[in-house]
Amino acid sequence: MDFLNQLFVDFGQQILSSVTAAFAIAAIGLNIHFGFTGLLNIGQAGFMLLGAYGFAITVEAGGGFWVGILVALVVAVLFALLLGIPTLKLRGDYLAIVTVAAAEIVRIVGGNQGLAPITGGAAGILGSVYQPSFTALSPFPQNGSFQVGPYNYPLTQGDSWFLRIVCWVVLILVCILVLLLTRSPWGRALRGIREDEDAVRSLGKNVYAYKIQALVLGGVLGAIGGVLYVMSASVQPDSLGRTTTFLLYTCLLLGGAATVLGPVLGSFLYFMVIIGLNDFVSAFVPSSIMNEQQIPQFGWIVVGVGLMLLVIFRPQGILGNKKELTFGD
């Protein structure tokens, strides 16, 4: 029973963590692009990284927390416009190519040693540089910790209760925003564009403007996710690379694209699979077969195979409507 106990404790810990919430928010952004509008953005990690840089660099320069958030959002809007204006009039594939390349450009430029005075180069920006601006906002005592059941976290510092609460409030607000938008005629127009943009154009809708709006909204959510993602750690360009984008797609497809809670559920499940595997292997598999270092790599394999099986046998994900995906084009 030790194993099950450990498993549930670890599940809870992971689900509560700011990283899960940050992933869920970024995946919701991707859902706006891919699930609702049909835009193939393969550079969501670029939006996250850019948001994180925008926030961290502004705070480091003395801008303060709120200015940092504002800069992160503005940078994401500009990035979305930069990518969207030339490509969204073209066929969908072009956006995919441009986003994957642009996300790599952000990552490589950020990691460039020549920019080390600003971005910290490959080492990135340490959390201690920007975290104080966030922890200063905490209503809780600056020091001390709090225990709920098996979970004991600091109140304010580092990977704290305060950060968890903020992440969850933001996640809930984002879900409400997406719910309102997708149930509105605006959301209906997006879904129409996903189905056939020429048909929507022939009905007098400015498809280009809708696509730009969707790209900007999803990108901004990506940037918010990015800021929350680095809040308990540090801004490191290589931690937000291509794999992050594909993980977001995994979360999205697992939970169900074009649903409001799909990406949230998908993020939970994704991390639970990784944690569960980790606990299972360390409890039952002798280290002569698989050692500690090999577990995460094995986890990647399981996730990859799982994603393939998912797309083949349940393309609508867990929350998706089966009927909605039954009809091909």
Partner: protein, 341 residues
Amino acid sequence: MTEPAPAVAADDYDYDRKRLRAKLATVSQEPGSAKPQPILSVDHIVRRFGGVTACDVDHLEVQRGAITALIGPNGAGKTTFFNLITGFDRPSSAKPRFASSGGEHAEWRFQDRTLTATSAFRVARAGMVRTFQLTKALSRMTVMDNMLLGAQDQPGERFLSALVRPTWTKREQEIRGKAEEILSRFTLDEKKDDYAGSLSGGQRKLLEMARALMSDPAMIMLDEPMAGVNPALTQSLLGHIESLRDNGTTVLFVEHDMHMVRHISDWVVVMAEGRIVAEGPPTTVMRHQAVVDAYLGSHHDQDLGDDAVLEEDFGAAVAAEEAERAEEPEATDAAPTEGVR
């Protein structure tokens, strides 16, 4: 079936079809002839794909209140022409952005509005809504959502007002009622909560037409509305198209089915190799020599399996026949109409 109020109450709309046909009977039957009340007037519209000129229309006017058919053999440029005037394609002859005025640039006017180089959604907003040859039902949306998407002036389609539900619920109610009314006219009301992808081909055609009507267009452009529709449904589609006209929507459609063209159209425009070769009322235009030639080739009545082809002077014989034909134009009227079918 209740007849809804006329969608567009233009003063010069001929609700009386007899009067309209009488007016059209006086129009000269040659390509590019002027109509008494044109709703659409197109000038110098040319589209080239590499060396191929797909469409080269010098002038065309479409009569308001008429059902105008655009016919022609495969590859005549009918769909290209549709795409050009609805903004889905750009004419090669479009006026360059910084060119001085003058010269023969593409220009077309719709209801006294110049639509030159206008994007497709603006054309639709101006009141010229089209359907597609390959039906574009939005499969993974319900029939009702398809319909609601067709409505104009929806505050809820703007990003910020979408967030504030009270700003758009009233309009949503209005268009939902209207959608239900149109769906019941098209006998799709029982399908309104089904996904559009589950409809049959003919029902999708109906849905596409019904969706286009949500915006009360002044003119609806149907690209092969009968393609792939079974004969029983064809009858009801024909009825729908005629009732559109009777309710105040001018209809322009592309069609291959000659029977249908003859049955419902008031005016027929014939295209071949990108050009308009003939215009006229359906009963007479089919007999036009240019039309017969376009569909069947100039030598359709010549048996090429005849030994004559082996004779050296066959070419001369054909040339002689051509010359003879040119001299006696009245003889061309006697060309068989059956062959056109």
